[in-house]
């Protein structure tokens, strides 16, 4: 099976390399954990602008929660995966594995 006939069955919000990495990273953290924007940027090796764009798309889909707060006088932005985001990532990985199984491929 090729990516061409696999794409329509997958969640288009997650099925973009940058957003997939964002969701995979956030999903690896505990469900009650949040990470600051700079820490997530460093972890992913993305630029602030690029990450910001992808986080907005994920937030619009209800997959991430962005909390803006202050630590002392410094503004801090925390990012966390929502329950909906976790379910979407779970469904996405199941779909990918199903595609591999149906194609007889190995991960």
């Amino acid at each position: 099976m090729t990516a061409g006939n696999a794409v329509p069955e997958l969640d288009p919000v997650i099925h973009a390399q940058a957003r997939l990495r964002v969701v995979a990273a956030l999903n690896t953290m505990g469900s009650g954990d949040e990470i600051t924007f700079p820490a997530l940027k460093d972890l992913l090796g993305m630029t602030a602008g690029n990450l910001s764009v992808h986080l907005t798309k994920l937030e619009d889909a209800g997959y991430v929660q962005i909390t803006k707060t202050h630590k002392g006088r410094t503004p801090v932005t925390y990012v966390a995966l929502t329950k909906r985001g976790r379910l979407a990532f779970d469904d996405y990985t199941k779909a990918i594995r199903a595609l591999l199984d149906s194609a007889g491929g190995t991960p």
Binding site: P12, T28, D33, L44, K57, T93, L100, T106
Partner: protein, 209 residues
């Protein structure tokens, strides 16, 4: 369809990408074994070797090292190990908040409480014992706290190697206490000190991409 042209090429590559990102995230938040385990292994290997040379297996010292000198060496190396471990834990927690951070804080307080109560018990009881038995009491109950808290840490953070390390520490500690001060120091230095260095290096090698 993907809306920004950043399409993932194939299911195989997608799955690999997910696994690589998950591994990188675990590396970021689990800490470097070179800081978390290896320094403690070195401290125990060096410190308890000094105690072993002081006690000897048959009650006769193998080297002119006093108990206070052995204790000083062990404490200096443990202080260095503790500092490296604290540095790594601080680095792991930069930029994160939530349940895992709270668990880590409570786990840290448990270490502090365990060591304080252990010291109180040892300070109260050790004057009643001969020198060698007093040293065995300190070493035995401190390793009891360490073994139990390693197992607890493994359970809290769902990290089996840490849990098994706790089991190993407890088993070696129990056996060593039964055999006496010299054997306890020898087993702790070799099996737990050297063993923890090996485990730390193995974990470090396993986490590298």
């Amino acid at each position: 369809m993907v809306d920004d042209g950043e399409r993932v090429p194939s299911p195989e590559e997608t799955l690999r990408l997910i696994e690589e990102q998950q591994a990188a995230t675990v590396r970021r938040f689990r800490g470097d074994p070179l800081f978390m385990y290896v320094p403690w292994g070195v401290a125990w290997l060096v410190g308890f070797t000094c105690f072993f040379l002081h006690y000897g297996l048959d009650g006769k010292p193998y080297a002119p090292i006093s108990q206070n000198q052995a204790l000083t060496v062990l404490m200096i190396f443990q202080l260095i190990a503790g500092s490296l471990c604290a540095y790594e834990i601080t680095r792991m927690n930069i930029g994160v908040r939530g349940d895992t951070t709270a668990k880590g804080a409570m786990y840290g307080y448990a270490w502090f409480a365990g060591m304080v109560v252990m010291s109180v018990i040892a300070i109260r009881v050790s004057p009643m014992l001969p020198e060698a038995e007093s040293g065995l009491l300190w070493a035995g109950i401190s390793l009891l706290v360490v073994g139990v808290l390693y197992m607890t840490g493994g359970a809290i953070f769902l990290f089996w190697p840490m849990f098994f390390l706790g089991i190993g520490i407890s088993a070696v500690n129990g056996l060593g206490v039964l055999l006496g001060p010299g054997w306890h120091a020898l087993l702790t230095a070799v099996l737990l000190g050297f063993g923890q260095i090996v485990v730390g290096l193995w974990l470090r090698r396993r986490r590298c991409p």
